[in-house]
Amino acid sequence: MGGAGLLPIIALLPFLGALVPGVMIRAGRNAAATFTAIPTFLALLMLLTLAPGVMDGQVLQKSFSWFPPLGLSASFMLDGLGLMFAVMILGVGLLITLYARFYLSNEDPAGVFFTYLLLFQGAMLGIVLSNNILMLLVFWELTSLASFLLIGYWRHLPEGRQGARMALTVTGGGGLAMIGGMLILGDIAGSYELTDILQAGEAIKASPLYLPALILILLGAFTKSAQFPFHFWLPHAMAAPTPVSAYLHSATMVKAGIFLMARLWPVLAGTDPWFYIVATTGLITMVLGALIALFKDDLKALLAFSTVSHLGLLTMLLGFGTEAAAVAAVFHVLNHLTFKAALFMTAGIVDHSTHTRDIKRLGGLLTLMPITAAIGIIAALSMAGIPLFNGFLSKELMLEEASHTSWWESPWIVPVLATFGALLSVAYSFRFIVHTFLGKPRDESIDHPHDPPFGMWLPPALLCVIVVAVGLFPAAIAGPIVDMAASAVTGTEIHTHFALWHGITPALIMSGIAIFGGLILLALHAPLDRAWLATPRPEAKRLFDGAMAASVRGTRVIAEGLHSGAISRALAVFVVTTVASGLIAFFGRGLPEVSRPLLPIPPVAAAGWLLMVAATLSVILLHRRRFLALVVISICGLMVSIGFVYLSAPDLALTQITVETVTILLLLLALHYLPKTTPADSSVALRIRDGVIGVSAGVGVGALAYAFMRRDVPSISDYFLENAYSGGGGHNVVNVILVDFRGYDTFGEIIVLGIAGVIIFALMEVLLRGRAGRRLRNWAFSEDRSRDRHPLMMVVGTRVMLPIALLVGVYILLRGHNNPGGGFVAGLVFSIALLMQYMASGFAWTMDRQRWEYHSLIGWGVIIAGLTGAAAWIFGRPFLTSAYGYIDWPWIEEFEWATAMAFDVGVFLAVLGAVMLMLYSLSRMARYAGETVNLEPMDYDPSQKSVQTERAPQERGVPTEGEEL
């Protein structure tokens, strides 16, 4: 397989080359075009070195592993069909590059254009060289993207943007369908390699999944090749610069669908569904396209619909499913490429020099632009299927095939419609010739049309040479190529015998009818045109835009309407879902036998329970009065703490009660800056709904808790009881769990607390800078303040308490490992002691006396805890492995030490730091609002006669701009 290694290089060259014009975006058109032509030319050259082998029937393959679980490999193949298409793509690519160099104006960013063009070229080349259908899909979608970019190239033109989106929507949608089809196809065949799939034709046709796969793949092919009813995007794609129209939307990309149908022809064709879907679609598209083309006044629109019609013709031929039809299709692909690309370039030249493409304004250009006219006329004659031009030959073959194809038992439908299509084709081709080039100039305002520079007319002229050469010597020039490609399509050896004269055949008669009928039709064009314009027709663009606008409106309701950020609705949905799924899960199965008896209810417990229920109900009733509600909530907290005591969980009780105190105090302080009442802002119905949801969730949680509290399950807790002392060195199992067994969790939780403190600080910073800060500053704070803000009793009391409380804190910290207590509780006790100072003596007073940064407390806490854990590494033990031992202090007694104590100190510091940082944030607010520092410890000191409260304004505690605390 010599030369197969070149295949990936050929496929990659355009992509690599695409980088160059993009980079040289400022170098001008010549440079960009040159560097586009070079990779194209190199790829073409390499391809041609492989051509002789392929023409001898070789199939070159080269494969690399890419994505094995998907079945995707970077697998390239070159056979006759691929070679023909690849040469077409690169050859026309070269001509288009030359043409575009002269077509683009100086203002157009040429580098971008040529980059897109090369991207497209690479993608298209990839399609025809792929041996893996999934890789083919990759390239397939890439052509859609490149086409999107090229159609929208003139991005300031609305038609360009809309056309680009429409093309992407239609071909992209088809591409997605094709993904499905290809995946199914490969799944049936057991491989995604084309060479394997082509062998598995029988199995595929017999599979029950054949039809879905066929439909999905055809959706892809039909959308790409603009088959009815997806044809509407192609004319709108003509908003692209003309070289793009010539290259993508007539010569190459739209042929991708045809290529694919030809590629999979041996696998998919020959069944009834294939015939009826493909041939019928093709036939309708051919006739409809030609009909519309006849009445289009825009030169490019006329050519676009004619392209649609010719693509229909090709589809129909492939749909027939016979070898001869396939040969005709291959031949016509070649012929259509030559004359249509030439025609588009002609239209571009006309547009360029007359600044209009309106047929009704043109005319008589033959004398003014003789070279252009000659090219246009030759190409159009070929399109019409006039003898001696190549279009005639393939059209004859088509009519021949149509003449003996019967559709749904009727032998007439296909030949008649095919002839009619050919007739229309003659009519619009001659309209193109007559109305553009012949006659007299119709619009005097068109200013001195002239032939373009050499570089612009050379490409179409070269194509016309091929048109004539093939038309005259089909067997010699086109014969070998068609043989080669058609053999690859059908999988059998094909030898064509093209000739200009076959004798009087049905096809010749049909052809004759078409030519004469077409000329008559053209003669009647003016009245017909008026009639056509008067008839109401569905306008694809309007329908498409309407559908698009409707979907945008519809989806907007679902998207933005439902996701407006209403938290109550989101929570309601969440709770309902939770309760519902819990119920479904619960009632699907039973429960194990109850294993714990109910305990008797002593009066104390009942009273506590009643208090809690009463407090809960009161919160519901009183929640609009926030202070009151807060007090009532604290009753719940206290009862929970007492419950822990009652149930012999002193550690939990201690923790709960301190947490409760700190939280309530902080909330009280925060509430100072908030409205004291909650307004009623939801309707009664809404509240009832929420109430029902809330009660259902509460009942659900209660029932769940009841269900599992009645049942014993062997658990890991016994291990903790047994090993707390022997392994963790502590008698207080709860504390050992916290700092040792699950110290990692605690480490995480102190970090959560620390983060919370830091966030509140950061948030306050932002808030005070913004609107809230301004409001605070202007708040008439002093007016609603008590004259005795710092009552004597409280000030004195808290100060006396402070050292005692701190001592208790230290005590709790130290005893924690063996008795109820620990770092967490100790941190909270410390916080409460300090909080009391803030409350009693004022934020400002206390702030002035504190010397530790709370940030540093959090930092120290987390770092001490972390380093204690990491110290275990030194001994080769995992993070947080504890150690303990005893130390004998002479004259005192034996002390126990445990590394967990250090960890607990970390916990202590982090908790203290976090709470105090929160408090500090609140106090910043207070000082913003103008709280003053009292000189004396209390506002009203009975031992002094006068009352001093305020310092001079500049000494007020309001932080100045940029001050960092």
Partner: protein, 555 residues
């Protein structure tokens, strides 16, 4: 043995660095930036090392405090968790560079500390082998993400932040309920041990464990933004600072990861108690999620909100792949997961640049072109291609491999229609937005400033190469994922095999270490108790009265 200590490093490094950032370095942005970047870089290095460690052998178990499982907390490093940690660290570094280069980190306080805590929380969640510890890390990443989300402040952002934190706190509460129920039903919280214990529960006694399984699913669904608990995501993401939203790309993946861990190892379809119940719910939710996401992309009026909906779309696709619970589909899901993370990040980072320079903020309206219109257009185009699943980036291959893996599934048709249809809608949505932002805007008149007019102070400045690089790197990552799909999926293939090798996981975690000197079970007393309990159960089963009644009620 020494190298296993590295398993905890992704948690300890940021945990030590972050307090230092918040405390020592908070006054010096240059110092904070350098330290934070160095930390994020170090995390990447550690993650690469861990990936090597994981690739070298089976599950590596790290027993914290040297306590044997299931009593202490264990970290489990396997192919999957190593990959997730690497993903997190790489994304973290990329986003951090972006935040520094665009100055986002300096728009509020403590960005770097919160960022490191966030990385710590995410890495910890990926590494843990303990259900309660997962809860703790969910808390860390939630609180840190809340801080990051409201970073910089602003009225709308604070409002959205409140909604975010309320919804997720509700989720955390539910997480606690679920864990309580799970503990009550099984008596353990270690994932491997749960897997053992759940299988010992007789189906007729399974009500509690089923409830726990469903509640946990909802908890994880909130994180992963699966219908019907996805409502929080668009508001949150679209109002978060764009670089933070980019980092959040990996947060939704935490939910997806947790679902994979729990519903393959603990509640697999082979578990008599739960069967396929979670799968069915997940499938239904994922289907609707995909549809909502796609519709949102088309219907959104703002750029950030459009990207947020595309996140929902990609999460739906991911969840569809996950909910099949077959090794093939899980492999596809993991590949898609990697892709979707970078796609999301790329879009948000690009959006960050665009929003900073457009006068009409992030409304999808045409407004005069900004500086560097072409570069932003190209970046947006590439990122959108990635997200919408078009070649040549990994989104296309990800979509293909998901679709292919779902072929044998009973719900394949629905999943296909939803994913393919959704893709089309997404493509159209992105095409509309892109053509509006970059093409139509060029037709808008640019108001030329008068000659002697002073340069407006807030005139959009061109982005520096460094600021553009992170977005470009995200796109590059998608390209690499696409080009290196073979090696990547080879690695993920092992990860999936490990994930489905439940026995291997259980053995690795629960087998006591050879050199351990800790007692490995609760002693003889417990065993006797257990035996007694076992006997009790058998006796009770024989009369079968209670269970029978409850089953009738259930029907």
């Amino acid at each position: 043995m020494i190298e296993t200590h590295w398993i905890i490093a992704p948690v300890v490094l940021p945990a030590i660095l972050a307090p230092l950032l918040a405390w020592v370095m908070r006054h010096d942005i240059v110092l904070a930036r350098s330290a934070s970047l160095a930390g994020a870089g170090g995390l990447v290095a550690i993650a690469v090392g861990l990936l090597n460690l994981a690739a070298g052998s089976g599950e590596q178990v790290y027993r914290l405090g040297d306590w044997p499982a299931p009593f202490g907390i264990t970290l489990v490093l396997d192919h999957l968790s190593a990959a997730m940690v690497l993903l997190t660290s790489v994304l973290g570094l990329i986003v951090l560079i972006h935040a520094v280069a665009t100055g986002w980190d300096n728009r509020g306080r403590h960005f770097h500390a919160l960022f490191q805590f966030q990385l710590m929380g995410i890495c910890g969640a990926f590494l843990t082998g303990d259900a309660f510890n997962l809860f703790v890390f969910f808390e860390i990443l939630l609180i840190a993400s809340y801080g990051l989300m409201i970073h910089g402040g602003g009225r709308v952002r604070l409002q959205a932040g409140l909604q975010y934190v309320v919804m997720n706190l509700a989720g955390s509460t539910l997480f606690l309920f679920a864990l309580g129920t799970l503990y009550a039903a099984t008596g353990t919280l270690n994932i491997a041990d749960l897997a053992v214990k759940v299988r010992e529960i007789a189906p007729e006694d399974a009500a509690l464990v089923r409830v726990a399984a469903m509640l946990l699913l909802i908890v994880f669904a909130i994180k992963a933004a699966v219908f019907p608990v996805q409502f929080w995501l668009p508001t949150t993401y679209s109002n978060a600072p764009a670089p933070v939203a980019a980092l959040f790309a990996v947060m939704t993946k935490v939910g997806a990861y947790a679902i994979l861990r729990f519903y393959i190892i603990v509640f697999g379809p082979d578990v008599a108690a739960t069967g396929t119940l979670p799968e069915k719910w997940l499938f239904a939710g994922a289907t609707i999620t995909t549809v909502i996401g796609a519709f949102g992309v088309l219907g959104a009026r703002r750029l950030m909100s459009m990207i947020s909906f595309s996140v929902i779309f990609s999460m739906g696709t991911l969840m569809l792949a996950i909910s099949a619970f077959t090794p093939d589909a899980t492999l596809a899901a993991l590949y898609y997961l990697l892709h979707s993370t970078f796609a999301t990040a790329a879009l948000f980072l690009v959006a960050c640049h665009i929003l900073a320079r457009r006068p009409s903020a992030d409304l999808l309206h045409a407004s005069p072109p900004t500086v560097q219109n072409g570069i932003f257009a190209a970046l947006f185009f590439a990122a959108a291609i990635g997200m919408a699943g078009m070649p040549p980036l990994s989104g296309f291959l990800g979509k293909l491999v998901v679709l292919k893996a779902l072929i044998p599934w009973e719900h394949a048709e629905i999943a296909w229609v939803v994913i393919l249809g959704g893709s089309l809608v997404t493509i159209v949505g992105f095409a509309r937005a892109g053509s509006m932002l970059f093409w139509k805007s060029t037709a808008e008149p640019v108001t030329e400033p008068e000659e002697d007019a002073p340069e407006p102070e807030d005139a959009p400045r061109p982005a520096t190469a460094l600021a553009l690089a992170p977005a470009a790197v995200c796109i590059l990552m998608m390209a690499l994922l696409s080009a290196l799909a073979g090696p990547v999926t080879r690695y993920l293939g092992v990860a999936v095999a490990q994930l489905y090798d439940r026995e291997g996981y259980i053995a690795a975690v629960l087998t006591p270490p050879e050199d351990g000197d800790r007692p490995v079970d609760a002693g003889i007393a417990l065993e006797a108790e257990e035996a007694a309990a076992q006997e009790d159960v058998t006796v009770e089963d024989e009369d079968g009265l209670t269970t029978g009644v409850i089953e009738e009620v259930g029907q």
